[in-house]
Symmetry: C2
Subunit: 299 residues, 2 copies
């Protein structure tokens, strides 16, 4: 069991991140090479099967928690009693406090939000159906309620520090490729610029969700944080970051038109194509501060 501020009973069942296979290179020589793990993980919430995620398995408990959070099936971390991962059956069982205390599942009770969640499940069936779909439908309806904090600003030196920290960190990618990495970084206090948690996964959204789950379990707010992703800034990435309450979204990749439109709409500070000293600031420039030499200038 893993200590966490929310007092959720969490197993600690990460899978090995990589394993080795033998390939043949362009010279016909045998090469032993690392490849990223990929495992199906079926998520049960209060005994109902919700989804099968294909995951690296590096943070499966947080992934399950963050999935429920980012799908907005559960509103509060305090509604969750336990998250138990079992790789014998490739499953993760999430138990609500209500079920643990009363024997009544989340789904059976309206007071737990079960009615709302049932409706949401129904809607998803239609709008997303399968692997490719997004939860776009209601996400757009809810995005306008998001208020991002203006209390902190991101400075160029802190951005550089985040980039340097990330470069040292994405170990599975360097070893095996085929994964995306996400980092949650501090933007205040002594830890400013430090990585608080770094998650890699074969699925871009899994890595985001695992960070959302970690934040819930550890009662960490998004207000004074920076979210870094190796992945592209698509609509869903921007929406999830905003819903986690994080005002800063940084990527080494490019962005899409809808990612841009939503970022503008929600006022998030979004930087893309960050490599080395280079970056492009796309939206939310009021929270970004360049400090060339001693002058201070708002982008």
């Amino acid at each position: 069991m893993v200590d966490n501020a929310a007092g959720i009973r969490l197993t600690n069942n990460a899978r090995p991140a990589t394993h080795e296979v033998t390939a043949r290179d362009e010279n016909g020589d045998e090469v032993v090479t690392s490849i990223a793990g990929e495992h199906p993980l079926t998520l049960y919430f209060d005994k109902r099967e919700l989804v099968t995620l294909m995951t690296l398995g590096g943070a499966p408990e947080y992934l399950a928690l963050g999935y429920l959070r980012n799908q907005r099936l559960v509103r509060l971390a305090s509604e969750i009693s336990a998250v138990q991962v079992d790789w014998e059956t490739n499953s993760v069982a999430v138990t609500s406090v209500q079920l643990a205390n009363t024997g009544i599942t989340f789904w059976e009770s309206d007071t737990s939000g079960g009615g709302r969640a049932n409706a949401r499940m129904q809607k998803r069936t239609v709008t997303t159906g399968c692997g490719q779909g997004t939860v776009f439908g209601d996400l757009m309806d809810e995005i306008d309620d998001v208020q991002l904090s203006d209390a902190t600003e991101l400075t160029e030196p802190v951005l550089q520090e985040v980039m340097a920290n990330v470069r040292h960190h994405d170990t599975i990618y360097k070893q095996a490729g085929a994964v995306h990495g996400c980092a949650l970084c501090a933007n205040a206090g002594d830890q400013r610029g430090d990585i608080l948690i770094f998650v890699e996964d074969v699925g871009r959204h899994n890595a985001v969700d695992a960070i959302a789950g970690w934040m819930w379990a550890n009662r960490v707010d998004g207000d004074d944080k920076i979210f870094y992703t190796t992945g592209r800034l698509t609509s869903e990435m921007v929406i999830k970051c905003a819903q986690m309450g994080i005002p800063f979204l940084v990527s080494r990749s490019g962005l899409t038109q809808m990612g841009y439109d939503i970022a503008q709409r929600v006022g998030i500070t979004m930087l893309g194509r960050c490599r080395g000293k280079h970056h492009l600031l796309f939206t939310g420039g009021h929270r970004f501060r360049r400090e060339p030499g001693s002058t201070t200038e708002m982008a």
Copy 2:
């Protein structure tokens, strides 16, 4: 309407691939930069809403067709009468031959496979639920039925030609990033090594599905083709390629453990990390032929 061998009535409504936004670079200078389009496209099949795909919109008709094919909701291209994309409503309406001829929808009739498709939709609801899920559940059951042709082999010079052709082709990626590209290449006849169709999309699976749709509409078989993707070789990528009957899967990215396991199981010839002269041959070496100088040697 677009000519095609299957005689399907196809609109020709691609969206502009990129548009321009103004960003600010690390020097605080304004930079006009291209970003990739991203649009929701809701797929209706015989009046039933199936899914909302987030897409670049470069080949929306083929995407819709390939989605129905790769989800195995429809078995034959000859069952489809029309695919009509309307960006005013961000929708694509697919009409079955049965509906066009008899007024009875695909879903209402068992002879059309509607019963089977209904069951599949039901199953997906449970196993995949939302944006992150995969169609893994039944795909694995069906993958063992796939027989890939051993009639053609891939030679090193043809591989080099494919790589060179692809390098000249991925224009949206070069301009705006944030997209994945897939190409279907010939591996026989005068066109050997040529790109037959190249599709880029913000979603990795959309690009694959669009190629599957193009193959259906043009009655193109997979047997003597090579499938190239910029994306990672995950389980789903390998499964889809195998189901399209294509014996050769080539990527410039890495692979995952399950991608590897499935590739071995289905006997596909899979090459990853192809960049410049380099590649790694992972599985299905019996169809790959190196020709260093005048000697011939099987990997």
